[in-house]
Assembly symmetry: C2
Homo-oligomer: 226 residues x 2
């Protein structure tokens, strides 16, 4: 990777790295092509050699943010590691809780990147096919979650009938928890209060899933009339 004076040699990556740094501190709205070019020490329009426009750069940072999120979830799984091999049910339950914790830890630990990661919707750029191969198979937050939920079914903890939609339940809970603490009224909550609250959320989901295969409780129509 040459670092020649004129031909930068690595401008695209440098811009992305600078962008990540800025995104960490200032979130999506803080990302400006001119500012990034300035930081990298290059004229303000050189970036157009590497990105079609600002959105393309933001999209790239979003992708990295998403990757960081997945990595944090994976780190949660790694923390569970090979423990409880003798009790696959407990193990699967711990794994679900672990990715939830990883998700929230990333969101609150890297608020800027987390925000950027979700900043391109509704008109998110469809990830071009050739980029998808860069990601490990099934490595998006949704994919990882689905995997762990499937495990819960396999070990007989989550009833197959309750499997569809379970991913949306889990994702909504951890995402909402994160966002309410990031950009909502729960912002500023003490760390240990927050941690306790998260454990309760995870435990509640676990309890619900347990109940799908546990002793029967008669189902009640919850949908509103009409």
């Amino acid at each position: 990777m040459p670092t020649a004076a004129y031909h930068h040699g690595n401008l695209r990556e440098s811009l992305v790295e600078a962008a990540i740094e800025v995104a960490r501190e200032r979130g999506p709205d803080g990302l400006a092509l001119r500012d990034l070019a300035r930081r990298v020490g290059v004229s303000h329009n050189a970036a157009y050699r590497h990105f079609a426009d600002r959105d393309a750069l933001v999209g790239e940072v979003a992708l990295r943010g998403m990757a960081g999120l997945v990595a944090a979830m994976q780190a949660g799984l790694d923390a569970v590691g090979g423990t409880h091999a003798e009790d696959p049910v407990l193990r699967a339950r711990l794994r679900l809780a672990a990715i939830g914790r990883g998700y929230v830890e990333f969101a609150l630990g890297e608020p800027g990147l987390f925000r950027v990661a979700f900043s391109s919707y509704p008109d998110a750029p469809e990830l071009p096919a050739e980029r998808k191969s860069e990601l490990l198979p099934g490595v998006d937050p949704f994919g990882l979650l689905n995997q762990v939920l499937d495990e819960l079914v396999e070990v007989g903890f989550l009833h197959p009938d309750a499997r569809p939609g379970a991913e949306i339940m889990c994702w909504s809970a951890v995402h909402g928890f994160s966002v309410l603490h990031l950009d909502g009224p729960l912002n500023g909550e003490e760390t240990d209060v927050r941690r306790g609250a998260l454990e309760r959320v995870l435990a509640t989901i676990d309890l619900a899933f347990a109940a799908t295969t546990g002793p029967p409780t008669e189902p009640v129509p919850l949908a509103a009339p009409g």
Copy 2:
């Protein structure tokens, strides 16, 4: 309310109304003092007679958005109305589901206002005491939710031990569900798919709460070691 040519007579409210309209269409970032003044037909700095700065205006719109959110939740409760008076447990469960539905309906039906309502955090302006009295007592999303959860305890459906933190569970789920559909990968989901998914989320929470007083399931430590 005079509508004189020079002295507008109602400028503050007119600005807020215009702001709400713009917020509906464009969300928080679309709100600009100059633009609003233009819409109302007044010079671009007249607004400073009524708002300290842009943030003050946005804050006001956020307040109205929050009020709309509460109203939607309340509308959910009203839909349950006086039904199932003979079965207070079922009634309380339906009421919880109803405010959840109201929340999500507002979020997805008024995405701009919903976004504005949550746009002022982390540095949300503390609502000045004199404004708080304008709101009905307990009328914020959190207050209403807490009220309904208390009912669930009173009727014996939700175990008192499970009461703390339950509001965060519920709020996280519906908020996350909303945000993932608004500014996340679930955006663009078909309406009926989304509705079905929401019902499953609500049912899962209900199931978990049922399990707190239902037949005992042995609790398992879910917290990660360390």
